[in-house]
Amino acid sequence: MSMLGIMARADRIFGEKHFQILYETGIRMKTFYENFKKYQFLLTELVKKDIKLKYRNSVLGFLWTLLEPLLTMIVLTIVFGTILQKKTPHFSVYILTGRLLYSYFSTGTKQALKSIRRNGGMIRKVYVPKYMYPLAASLSSYVTFLLSLIVLVIVAAVQGIRPTWYLVGAVVPLATVFLMVTALGFLLATLDVFFRDLEYIWNVTTMLIMYMSAIFYEADSLLDSKYGFLIKYNPLYSVITNFRNTVVYGKPLESFYVWYPLVVSLVVLVVGLAFFYKKQDSFVLYL
């Protein structure tokens, strides 16, 4: 069938109006892509800036990224391992995996939340696609997070944990957590423009999420209790669990913990992006 024939048929199936919408969406996606290509270098520059400035003025520099989770792990292991007599196998690695994922979640969302307002001076003066700012904030925290995984490799080796083939599955929770943080980032960055106290509200919320994520205690016994659902339906707990399964315990991914956080993140992404795009033209009036 000729191209014209296909189009005529598509016309009959979709109706002229639908075809028009499809065509316009195509055009819009093409302009979006071209615009993204144009500003791709800006995205790398923004990510680089965040990372460079983070380490510029500290003596230990990059070493801090490794030392900080290591020291927290030691403290938490002593407190919860010794005093509470925890007998979880590889308790220190158990804590470290949870801590690392949680701290990316918390710093990533906090950075993204502030991103639009922090760059307000720029937004008011030069045209730049605004989604670059929350995206760059999430990306730069993610890069730091991936680098901090070095400490996990070292501690796991010291603890005698041998990698299994299931380790490949760790890609799934790692990708999901990035999606989750980016999605929340768009939503929070938009709200933060209009509500200045959101930063404090979110600080408290992330603390609540921390206690719901089973970072320094075992959740198995709690899951069936009255408030167990708080942990079970916390998407971050899903991600942490699957990460531990693949990295620490050499177990396969659990399917519920794969699709549940993914679905939640995708829903938040759609809502967050829609909200961001609806409001982005009025950012400049509130900055």
């Binding site: 400035l53 030069v126 209009f194």
Partner: protein, 246 residues
């Protein structure tokens, strides 16, 4: 849009919605919402603005403070989206308004060349190619490797000017208070702008001084309280403006 038009503005209006009291946190918002006290008043910063600028034309935008000049520039620069109306631009716009507004103070001059260049939409290879030229024009010398927080405001402006004008724009937006650096650098930057003028680029010049507009522009518009009250050749319009401000 015809080939000879650089900028076409059709019925542009910008509406601002201002809360009677500023509500910028969740707590106040919730309280006001419950008490039904969320009231806004609206006003048009610009209304029914239409004009065209032909290629190579130099248009002066006259108006007193609060007439809507900056709002109009923001719309043309793409920073502010108009509430109504359409805007068509033909070619690259460079606003020489607040130079170096996107600079990072902890970055060195060199790093800022790439950061600011990226914000203006230039590519890495291009900036690498032009880097020496930018540094030479800015006359910063070894200071280029020093963090910007140690720069004087004149040095920052020099760097900003050098990056922004590295590509000759099709449309240049100029503010009357463009004084970059010391007397020597000012002369140099004015010459660079004059050279662009001579090569026939399109210019939008914002001012409330008739003298400057007369010497630089060939056409002019007057804004008053968000409305376009006159447009035409610079002589006629400046006579009207003189009468209006009396």
């Amino acid at each position: 849009m015809g080939k000879n038009t650089a900028l076409r503005v059709d019925n542009i209006g910008v509406k601002f919605r201002m809360a009677n009291e500023r509500v910028d946190n969740v707590k106040d918002y919730a309280i006001k919402l419950l008490k039904h006290e969320l009231r806004y008043h609206e006003f048009w910063a610009l209304k029914d603005i239409s004009f065209r600028v032909a290629k190579g034309e130099r248009l002066g935008v006259l108006g007193l403070n609060g007439a809507g000049k900056s709002t109009l520039l923001k719309v043309i620069a793409g920073v502010l989206k108009p509430t109504e109306g359409t805007l068509q631009r033909n070619g690259r716009i460079v606003p020489l308004l607040e130079l170096g507004a996107g600079f990072e103070n902890q970055y060195t001059g060199k790093e800022n060349v790439f950061l600011y260049g990226a914000m203006l939409g230039y590519r890495r290879e291009f900036l690498k190619e032009k880097y020496d030229e930018i540094v030479a024009f800015s006359e910063l010398g070894d200071f280029i490797n020093v963090p910007l927080k140690n720069y004087s405001s004149g040095m920052k402006a020099r760097l900003g000017f050098s990056i922004a004008t590295i590509v000759e724009p099709e449309i240049l937006i100029l503010d009357e208070v463009l004084s970059v650096g010391d007397a020597k650098f000012r002369k140099k930057s004015e010459k660079k702008i004059k050279d662009m003028f001579d090569r026939g680029i399109t210019v939008l010049f914002v001012s409330h001084s008739i003298g400057q507009v007369r010497s630089l522009c060939d056409r002019a518009i007057i804004l008053e309280k968000g409305h376009l009250i006159a447009q035409g050749d610079v002589e006629t319009v400046s006579v009207l403006y003189e009468e209006a401000i009396k």
